[in-house]
Symmetry: C2
Subunit: 209 residues, 2 copies
DNA sequence: TGGTCAACTTGATTCCGGTCAAGGCAAGAA
DNA sequence: TTCTTGCCTTGACCGGAATCAAGTTGACCA
């Protein structure tokens, strides 16, 4: 982006200082722009008529969310809540629409961003419909661990409370706990609080009950 | 769109005459453009490692698909197969990219289209994670039936074979059959082959086992 | 006329994962 | 210290939907 572009966007941006539990927007709210998380964590979630919650996504620092809704002229289909004390930016819709008018490259970037998001949702549907809860947990653990790290211990840190992750994986906290326990018994992982150590990546990857 | 726009796009378009069962693209194929169904039906689906199929979407005449993948630089995450003998158009990627460069309004339309698709996938995830199989079937029957038609019989026609619809709703054909039977017993619908008659829309809408 | 095949239904059984209930444990407050 | 409170684990039990198996029906073809 050019310096003047940055400046123009900065004009339409404001900081949001969030305490844990603060709601950025409710489902059904009118969309006035999109958000970027600077630090902390934010969750996007749905609530069923019966009050059950499903966490769609956990937004980490550096990630944005809500772009898609801007272009749709529809209200938010999800609600957003800070999981921890957080700092986020709110970038005004107008600034972006302006950018699209004037800058095809910017437009392509927005299209690419949206496409990636759609792709993630397809993967979400795929894992919900075609994979067992155990497979979903394993997928989560192996998550962005593409490089071959066989034979080495890999340490990862759970990005949120276990009940939030469980909801994201569409299982209950009880089931999540039990599955981690099983994998632990099988010698594939070692769990200590939020820290998980994968003892054998390749075995975990091909684990089948 | 201006006449010259139409002409330009027509240049990059070719017709695809499809027999039932023909595959338009496989998961993993490189994307060269997007498709519009003129007549017939096309399904977008996933296959699990175990060979189970999940139908993501059934594309009816007039609808397009595959736009999202164009902007992503990734291969298709799903495969597409004709459900019936069909005619489809393939619109070349280059034509669209050109349109984005030159026409901000066109770009906005693409963004809006993508957003709607994303919105649909979110609804898909919502129904998979928060609704029972029976509720999903009812949602499907009430589908695009927003107008208040209480007190009147509403006739709808299943858009595909029941096993395809079942897969789309993420249930087995057996379960689908049983649920339709139950709703029939409850006097809410009447089923005859692919034709379903909803006897009482408002009761069906609020039906709760 | 019967044969074959796909689509669908129905019944019996199984099992994955949810629900309910109880308890552990660490951190902070009184 | 003891009492919360939130988070997590564990066990017992249950139920919704899948699976397995056996028909039924209708369309098309030999």
């Amino acid at each position: 982006m050019s310096p003047e572009e940055v400046e123009r966007i900065a004009q339409g941006t404001r900081e949001l200082h969030l305490a844990r539990g603060d709601v950025l927007f409710q489902r059904g709210d009118h969309c006035t722009g999109f958000h970027v998380v600077i630090h902390g964590k934010v969750k996007l979630a749905l609530i069923s008529p019966q009050g059950l919650e499903k966490v769609l996504e956990i937004i980490d620092p550096g990630q944005s969310f809500g772009e898609a809704v801007m272009f749709m002229g529809k209200p938010y289909p999800v609600y957003a809540q800070a999981l921890t004390d957080s700092l986020a930016l709110h970038i005004n819709k107008n600034v972006i629409v302006g950018g699209i008018e004037s800058d095809p490259a910017f437009c392509r970037k927005m299209l690419a961003g949206l496409s990636i998001r759609l792709h993630r949702m397809i993967q979400n549907v795929e894992s919900l419909s075609l994979r067992s809860s155990e497979q979903r947990v394993i997928d989560y653990l192996l998550h962005d661990l593409e490089e071959i790290k066989n034979g080495q211990d890999v340490h990862i840190s759970l990005s949120a409370n276990k009940n939030v992750i469980a909801s994201n994986l569409n299982i209950t906290p009880e089931t999540f706990s039990r599955i981690l326990h099983n994998l632990s018994d099988a010698g594939l992982i070692h769990v200590e609080g939020k820290d998980v150590c994968i003892k054998d990546v390749s075995k975990l990857r091909t684990y089948d009950k």
